[in-house]
């Protein structure tokens, strides 16, 4: 059992564990939160989706802004809680493998070094960037695949703070070829909050609840025009309408989807097919503390593929990949397109891979194959 602590310091979640294990032992949100019931900021002990507390209007403080560590004191607080209560390691007798985003500023690197050595006293430190580690993991999982034979891959990381497409060659990230979209899970949640606040209930303070809504109800549509047509229909014909019930502290402390079976009806829609029959639903009016979602369910993840729809002057994910590949040597292009690895929380929307393939195929020259792999466990 090695004495290396592996710590993936992400903007949304911290994933930590011992070196050599397959899965991270601890996944907690990288923030301090204060629910309405308490006056001080608390440490999260597990991911918010599995915690039983009421998360209404919980305030959040994050040490990481846009992916970079700007508040080392807050981070020290979170890490000390992590090391003592959750991981049970003594820093002075262990080494640390830390991830940092690319293009970190020298002042940030200096404060991170101080944090690791002076405040915790680790014996040694390795700072890596996440794309090369993802590539390494993929090659170790599939030692006979194309990725490990060519030693080259394109890692697309849709994270909390931004989305990045990074080519990796021989375990080194080619940082001249990295392209970044400033949209991530945080912007998706903010957009969903804005949409729901305009149309139903003001949820601008409820970041954690809307995170839950986003994870449970949002999906990626393959054909937005057709889905908008379906979302317009009323009553039973509308396959997308779903109600989410907010917690009220009395009957239920966590929000939930009113009809989980109905939420899956959209999966019955395949390309070009029309919906067969709709399930009977009771005719209920919106009571206080619940809201309906119809087209927001697929318009929110649509943002990653077309940021121009929001007015942002940035290209979508497919173009980002194309630009990242084009920035590398022409001999690498076919191999990169054939070994695209998707990682990051925002890739977990249903139908994400199919939509990305559909968007990417027209932009790639005919004689190259496009092959996208996700991190299956």
């Amino acid at each position: 059992m090695s004495n290396v602590v592996v710590l993936d310091n992400g903007g949304g979640f911290i994933k930590a564990g011992q070196g050599g294990e397959r899965n991270p032992a601890v996944v907690i949100p990288n923030c301090l939160y204060r629910p309405l019931t308490s006056k001080k900021f608390l440490h999260p002990t597990t991911t918010f989706s599995s915690s039983p507390d009421d998360l209404t209007s919980a305030a959040i403080r994050r040490p990481i802004d846009r992916g970079y560590l700007i508040n080392p004191d807050l981070q020290r607080d979170i890490w000390s809680h992590l090391f003592t209560s959750l991981l049970h390691v003594t820093p002075s007798s262990s080494s640390l493998l830390l991830t940092e985003p690319l293009f970190s500023l020298p002042s940030i690197q200096r404060s991170t070094d101080e944090l690791v050595f002076e405040d915790f006293g680790f014996s040694s430190l390795v700072v890596a960037d996440s794309p090369s580690l993802v590539h390494l993991y993929e090659t170790s999982c599939r030692p006979c695949g194309l990725v490990s034979e060519a030693q080259c891959s394109l890692v697309v990381d849709c994270g909390f703070s931004f989305t990045q497409a990074s080519p990796v060659f021989q375990n080194i990230t080619l940082n001249y070829g990295v392209k970044r979209i400033d949209l991530g899970g945080k912007a998706l949640t903010n957009y969903l909050k804005e949409l729901v606040s305009y149309r139903a209930i003001n949820v601008m303070d409820e970041t954690l609840l809307m995170d839950d809504v986003k994870e449970k109800l949002c999906f990626v549509s393959l054909d937005v025009e057709r889905d908008l047509q379906f979302a317009r229909k009323h009553g039973k014909d509308n396959l997308f309408r779903c109600t989410y019930v907010l917690p009220d502290g009395v009957t239920h402390t966590k929000g939930y989807v009113k009809d989980p079976e109905a939420a899956k009806r959209h999966l019955a829609l395949t390309d070009g097919a029309s919906p067969s029959e709709a399930i009977e639903t009771k005719n209920e009016t919106d009571q206080l503390g619940e809201f309906d979602l119809t087209n927001e369910r697929f318009l929110v993840p649509e943002m990653i593929f077309q940021p121009a729809d929001l007015g942002m002057n940035e290209a979508g994910l497919a173009e980002c990949i194309v630009r990242a590949v084009n920035a590398c040597h022409p001999y690498l292009h076919p191999v990169l397109y054939q070994s695209i690895i998707l990682t990051g929380g925002s890739t977990l929307f249903p139908r994400f891979v199919e939509r990305l393939e559909k968007d990417l195929r027209p932009l790639v020259p005919d004689d190259y194959q496009v092959n996208i792999t996700t991190q299956e466990e």
Partner: protein, 226 residues
């Protein structure tokens, strides 16, 4: 002759001037529609808005007369050193935290007290001279608020001055993906979310039908701007 040639010799302050984001947007363009669009995009990128509650204790106060001299001494020290050596943001914040050791002796914050011995010597000197406290001026409060809030990433990025690097060096700004290849975009109604054909005359938000236009005019026309 004086003004033109002496620009190179004129001492410019290296203090970072903070412009409030809304002010910067207002100075940039006077168009209502672009202002509204800018405000929307900033709100999207924001972390939790305004959740940083006032944590400082209200009973801690800075005294004005006695400590002004010390504060002035530290500040002039900072200014001179900032001009001669290029201090990084963290070192400047270390120096500024000395003012707070002096001003708030009761509250020893756990944030940002440096380890270097040189500062320790200065701080022990300062602590001997502390006195009872008086009401804090608005400026002292603002100074302390500005010091306590960690610098946002955009400020750090701006200070790092990445444009001055030669063009073959990859940097954070060059890694941005850049504008899309086609500027055609779909518009969605801001009220109901479906495809929008019409635009509000005053603020530029889209809507799809008369009903949505009425709702828009009642509730959120010019919401971000005015």
């Amino acid at each position: 002759m004086d003004d033109d040639n002496s620009n190179a010799l004129r001492r410019m302050s290296t203090r970072t001037r903070k412009v409030a984001p809304k002010m910067a947007a207002a100075l940039g363009s006077s168009d209502n529609r672009s202002q509204a669009a800018l405000a929307r995009l900033e709100a999207l990128e924001n972390d939790n808005a305004g959740i940083e509650a006032v944590e400082m204790n209200d009973d801690d106060e800075a005294s004005l007369d006695e400590d002004d001299q010390e504060i002035g001494f530290i500040q002039s020290l900072m200014d001179i050193e900032a001009h001669t050596h290029r201090y990084t943001s963290i070192e400047i914040s270390f120096l500024q935290s000395l003012i707070d050791i002096e001003a708030h002796t009761r509250r020893y914050t756990s944030s940002g007290i440096p380890f270097s011995t040189r500062f320790m010597i200065l701080s022990t000197y300062m602590q001997k001279r502390s006195k009872g406290t008086k009401r804090k001026t608005r400026q002292a409060k603002a100074l302390e608020n500005a010091r306590k809030a960690p610098r946002s990433f955009l400020e750090l990025l701006h200070e790092a001055n990445l444009e001055s690097l030669p063009p073959h060096v990859p940097s954070y700004l060059r890694a941005a993906v850049g504008p899309p290849s086609s500027t055609s975009r779909r518009h969605f109604c801001s009220v109901c979310g479906f495809s929008a054909k019409y635009t509000c005359v005053t603020c530029g938000m889209r809507f799809c039908s008369c009903r949505c236009q009425n709702i828009h005019n009642d509730t959120r026309c010019m919401k971000f701007v005015a």
